[in-house]
């Protein structure tokens, strides 16, 4: 069984972002694999360790530095990587429908049995790509996966939904998007990152697979309003007065 794992390179969630009028300042900022994508890679590696899949291919869309995230995926245990190159801003101009179309082309080309990806990326939080990809391929999908079992070509996935946990089952091929509690990715080891250098990495210019339509326009980016401090009030009357007049709750 062959698995395609899509990974996106995003701003490291551990650092403080700077907001410019045209978006987040990416100049000199540390970037890393989107946390949910990393979970998808880890899950693929665990499935391979359980001998349920034979080959893991990691793919990313982006500029030259995107190869670093692919090497990370290879170091975690992916076998091959595909770098779809573009100079467009990945956090703004590389949008879900276009990504889904590009991934669909790769699926048709290479015949994967399963596509794993993160549920959403932490830069745009769209949470659409996996769903759109399944639609384009006319494949079943299971999103927000917190547990994945594969037996005899049947995937059984526990999904985290608002009401609790939902278990779905479908015959592969299919698309599964991964959520936080699915697993905790391992650290990359130095020997593995060095071995990753000799694993196959295919580079494909984006326009060979698809096009970026920029159908969603970002009109404004701003930092959240600075939280004003709270206040300790003397009695309930003052509290009610503040709730009414300042917080305008009623």
């Amino acid at each position: 069984m062959k698995v395609l794992v899509a990974v996106k390179r995003v701003v490291d969630s551990g650092i403080k972002v700077r907001v410019k009028p045209d978006g987040i300042d990416l100049q000199g900022v540390k970037m890393t694999i989107n946390p949910f994508c990393e979970i998808a890679v880890e899950e693929a590696v665990r499935l391979k360790e359980k001998k349920l899949i034979a080959e893991i291919v990691a793919v990313t869309i982006g500029p030259k530095q995107g190869a670093e995230s692919l090497r990370h995926a290879l170091a975690l245990g992916a076998d091959k990587a595909i770098h779809v190159t573009t100079e467009a801003r990945i956090d703004q101009a590389v949008q879900p429908l276009d990504v889904a179309n590009i991934l669909a082309k790769l699926v048709e080309r290479d015949n994967y049995n399963l596509v794993l990806m993160g549920k959403q990326s932490i830069d745009d939080d769209f949470n659409q790509t996996g769903q759109m990809l399944a639609g384009l391929l006319d494949w079943p999908q299971a999103t927000f996966a917190s547990n994945i079992q594969i037996t005899d070509g049947i995937a059984q996935v526990i999904r985290e939904i608002d009401g609790g946990l939902q278990t779905v089952k479908f015959k592969l091929p299919g698309v599964i998007t991964c959520d936080l509690r699915l697993n905790q990715p391992r650290f990359a080891s130095v020997p593995n990152i060095m071995k990753a250098k000799s694993k196959p990495l295919e580079t494909i210019p984006l326009d060979k697979l698809g096009k970026l339509h920029n159908s969603i326009q970002i009109t404004k980016t701003e930092a959240p309003a600075i939280r004003k401090g709270g206040a300790i009030v003397e009695n309930v009357d003052v509290l009610i007065q503040k709730l009414r007049n300042e917080a305008k709750l009623f």
């Binding site: 490291d12 650290f187 080891s189 130095v190």
Partner: protein, 450 residues
Amino acid sequence: MKKYLNSFKQIVGAQNMITDPFDLKPLNQDWQRFYQGKSELAVTPTSSKMVSEILQFCNQNNIKVVPQGGNTSFVGGATPVQDELILSLRKMNNILEFDTTTSIVTAESGVILQSMNDYLQTYRYQMPWDLGARGSCQLGGNIATNAGGLNVVRNGPLRNYILGLEVVLPNGKILDLLNKNRKDNTGTDLKQLFIGSEGTLGIITKANVLCAPIPEQRQVFFLELKGFDEAIQLLRSAKQFEQLGAFEFMEGRILQRCLPFNPQLKAPFEFKADKYYVLIEICGQQIELEYYFERLLKHTEQIVFNQNESELQAMWRWRESVPENLHKMGHVLTYDLSIPPDKFEWFAEEIYPERKGPYNAFYGHLGDGNIHYNIIFESVEEMHKEQERVEDKIIKLTKSLNGSISAEHGVGQLKRHYMEIQKGKETFGYMQELKRVFDPNNILNPEKLL
């Protein structure tokens, strides 16, 4: 103390006095809960002038005073022994200025270390020393104890970075040593006496600190080794790294026991009791990973490294949570010693041959030769019973290696009775004389250090 309440009210104002026993409880006790003071009054002055007036009054009336910062001492140095007046610096928490040309920050001694760093971050600078208690410990306390911490292997000791101090002497005089010159060879450097004096010679109220630039990049490697000698070989290589930021060591027998206390924390390895672990941090501009891969792989293949900030924090968390986790494992006797780094394991085996006996383990700043040796007991009674026997052995063994019985934690109440053994009669005599020069009435932090 009751008869003086009105006088203190005149000096500091009622709003700067704490008399409620409930509020005094945390000030009377150290964080490890080894020591219990009986102070009935704490004052929280808001200026050097106020500190001066308090000390002048105390000196005249022979009232003993304990200066208190963040109260994070490991050796009972910041809490009263009896019912001394607690003089808390917490309200003197203003950062006065930062000179962007010289990178010198001037601050009052009650500023919390983390707050200093939050302020300096805007200028892309940071405090040159760092320790686990950064969220609570204060500038004055750090200086009074010449705090060590995680950055010594990179930046050197705290002393290097104190350019000037303002100190209030026991007689109330304010000693202005607030030099800002990087170079000043004009005779005896008095401020050095107060650095590390643990509040026994004067109360530090302001400091000029030379700050360090924030490293552009940080990279952490966590290595698993098969033997302690491998850790020493690794240390020898790492000392050649110009960008070496930190070199920390942990025995596998500790980390393995820490696993259940950090269930959600991503572990670099499945820690094994018979292995040895080292955390190496590299910091600087343009870290060339390949350079370090090549050199570290010569020692072991078991090396992981962080791919992002949260992995970096996770690796450090394993190291920094060791002290608090040890306390969760039982009653801990902890020894903070300086001995030759290659003797750490030998030392542990001399104390408990084949490491048999109560659970004992060591970890620490291998890069500086600073070992934290811990012995864990199931009950306080067992601990006290064993303490006398083993402590004597530990102190003697340290002395025989020409080591220090307190590398970074200071002396406080805990190691006071070993001072003469550590220093020798002559040196100790001079230390006591200096105490008499500054504090003839012995009002400042009595029964500590000397």
